[in-house]
């Protein structure tokens, strides 16, 4: 009789838990990982392994010696950050850079804010952008991909950007680009961003497991497609096929796995739509007019910064309408 438990309702709990969600994200990343192993071989395994292990190590060290609190590795978020960071790196990058990137991602991107749930920016992207700006050469040196002969050593986005800069009309570039191959993933690029199809499979898994909703990925990719289509229809000589934008670079990885990061995306459905549209627009702006060939990471980080503001002003649709009854 003495062990009677009393607590406020509800007395049932759904089967969601933070570690389960994080594990599901890791599982969803497996097809893309498998594809990058197929393309880059053992390099992919090394890079991913080092990134995950160093992320976990840094999280443990910071928990243990700086924050002096119980270890938080059990929530699996360090594994997710490590995997996503690895997916944003070239396959032949030096291990030291991976470790440095992990330190920035975990230390500055996450733990400096107080750990999981408090960070303003996506930690993996903080790590990646730090490396990209500090080590631009190493970060854009991609090994040749089997099956893609036309363009070597550069991502399709960089190739197109370079070609357009020199004044080559789109009509001459297009034959060099195989949209089908792009979709399947036979292109140069970071570890995990290449297999658009594999990423899509992972995304569908997350949707089925109800880890993510369709809203953010669809709005990001949809906005990119619509914006690029407008440009393309306005001047097909100057602007490239919108499908190219959706399949190339980190669009899929960003839309499905990075933009949907819970902590750094808005809470309300309307807010999520605004956030996702912002990412799509900024990505295309950077890709077409910016200095970098790829703008996904920057776009997500910029929109991350607007999330608190969106949460404050964009409220969910209320039951019974948004204006309360006047008394």
């Amino acid at each position: 009789m003495s062990n009677r438990i009393v607590a406020p309702s509800p007395h049932l709990h759904g089967d969601f838990s933070t570690p389960r969600i994080m594990r599901d994200v890791v599982i969803a990343l497996i097809p893309a990982f498998a594809f990058s192993v197929f393309i880059y071989g053992l390099n992919a395994v090394f890079v991913t392994g080092i990134a995950i292990l160093s992320c976990m190590l840094f999280e443990w060290l910071i928990d243990r010696f700086m924050l002096r609190r119980p270890c938080t590795l059990g929530d699996w978020s360090a594994v997710v950050t490590g995997t996503l960071l690895a997916f944003n790196l070239p396959a032949t990058i030096s291990p030291w850079l991976i470790i440095l990137g992990s330190l920035v991602a975990i230390g500055i991107g996450k733990m400096s804010f107080g750990g999981l749930g408090r960070n303003l920016f996506n930690p993996a992207l903080v790590g990646r952008v730090f490396l990209l700006i500090s080590f631009p050469v190493q970060m854009t040196l991609f090994p040749d991909t089997a099956g893609v002969d036309a363009i070597t050593g550069a991502t399709p986005l960089a190739f197109v950007k370079g070609a357009l800069k020199t004044g080559t009309p789109v009509a001459e570039i297009m034959p060099n680009i195989d949209l089908g191959g792009l979709f399947l993933g036979f292109k140069d690029g970071s570890l995990g961003e290449i297999g658009a199809l594999a990423l899509l499979i992972g995304g569908i898994y997350l949707l089925i497991r109800r880890v993510i909703t369709w809203r953010i990925p669809v709005f990001v990719l949809g906005t990119m497609f619509v914006f690029a289509s407008i440009l393309w229809l306005a001047n097909p000589e100057l602007y490239i096929n919108p499908l190219f934008h959706v399949f190339a670079g980190g669009a899929m990885l960003g839309a499905i796995f990075m933009a949907t990061d819970y902590v750094t995306s808005p809470m309300s459905k309307k807010g999520q739509a605004i956030y996702a549209i912002g990412i799509g627009v900024i990505t295309i702006l950077i890709r077409v007019w910016g200095a970098y060939p790829e703008g996904m990471s920057f776009a997500i980080l910029i929109m991350n910064a607007t999330v608190p503001l969106i949460n404050m002003y964009v409220k969910p649709s209320r039951f019974g309408g948004n204006s309360p009854k006047k008394k």
Binding site: S2, R4, I5, V6, A7, P8
Partner: protein
């Protein structure tokens, strides 16, 4: 190269000038006269912004002190008499002398005095627990032990004692701001006079149940027997709703009530150790009481056992 440099400097200086002029006029237009004494007074206050004075922070208190002619009703519990005196001297107004107060936790239901009969598994907050049910023990008036009072204290003056499960007030740090009094959903904490040399006597219980029920729930609860009321030579003790209360204004700290309380619900602090013979007498009385209690408890347990069987 030089041209660029000159243009840049010129533009920046120009912008700066324009902004300065705009800011100057805006500042002139929206200038609000404020009594400089408010700033001075605020500086004298402790700056804890605890709200113990009844105002939203020290600034509001300072404004009230400066604007009101009669400030005898205003009092900063944190700064105490010294601060109020300084403020009054500065402003040339009179303040009422107030005795220093301290927060007192009126519950002696430690884990050994009060048996737990169930486990609370909700959010660790007294307010949540109090709104849900009577609490983990048979006493529905006593301390819930989740420490809402410790979380609201701005002065680190109240802490949970993990052994007893009750909060303990650090007399040195307590400023009697009353934050814990407001936070306690069971109204257990009271601000009482600190007393001469820190000597205080109070009823350490707020249980309004009838004596038999209280006794079953807790060994040191006030059972409302009224012995203390009869004993008190100064009529300082009242008995209402089955619980005694010692009026600090009338109490002369004679401690006769402490000696007669059958459950030991009246406590004293700050007194020197009693003289040997009285101490022996009290000890004897207490052993008697505890022996009595033991028999009662044994009986109750027997009854309880029968009920369950």
């Amino acid at each position: 190269m030089n041209e660029t440099l000159i243009y840049t400097i010129a533009i920046l200086v120009g912008l700066g000038l324009i902004a300065a002029v705009v800011l100057y006029f805006v500042a002139q237009k929206f200038k609000v006269y404020e009594d400089p004494r408010i700033d001075e007074t605020e500086a004298m206050l402790p700056g804890a912004n605890c709200g113990g004075c009844g105002f939203a922070g020290c600034r509001a208190m300072a404004e009230a002190l400066v604007k009101q002619d009669d400030i005898s009703a205003l009092y900063c519990p944190v700064g105490g008499a010294a601060t109020m005196k300084a403020v009054a001297e500065y402003l040339g107004k009179a303040v009422a002398e107030k005795e220093p107060m301290v927060a007192v936790v009126r519950c002696g239901g430690t884990s050994c005095n009060r048996a737990r009969i169930n486990t609370f598994d909700g959010a660790r907050s007294c307010a949540v627990e109090a709104s849900l049910y009577g609490g983990e023990t048979g006493c529905t008036f006593g301390c819930l032990g989740n420490g809402d009072c410790t979380r609201v204290c701005n002065f680190d003056a109240i802490h949970m004692n993990p052994e007893t499960g009750l909060p303990e007030v650090d007399e040195e740090k307590c400023t009697a701001c009353g934050a814990c009094v407001k936070a306690c959903p069971k109204q257990i904490i009271e601000l009482r006079k600190k007393g001469p040399k820190g000597r205080r006597v109070w009823v350490n219980c707020v249980n309004r149940d009838k004596g038999a029920i209280t006794r079953k729930a807790c060994t040191v609860g006030c059972i409302g027997c009224g012995k203390c009321v009869k004993t008190c030579p100064f009529e300082a003790i009242t008995l209402e709703n089955n619980v005694a209360y010692i009026d600090p204004a009338k109490c002369r700290l004679c401690r006769k009530c402490v000696a007669v309380c059958p459950t030991g619900a009246i406590v004293e602090v700050g007194f020197p150790a009693r003289k040997p013979e009285t101490a022996a007498a009290t000890a004897q009385a207490q052993t008697q009481v505890s022996a009595q209690q033991e028999t009662t408890i044994a009986q109750q347990q027997q009854e309880g056992g029968e009920q369950h069987a």
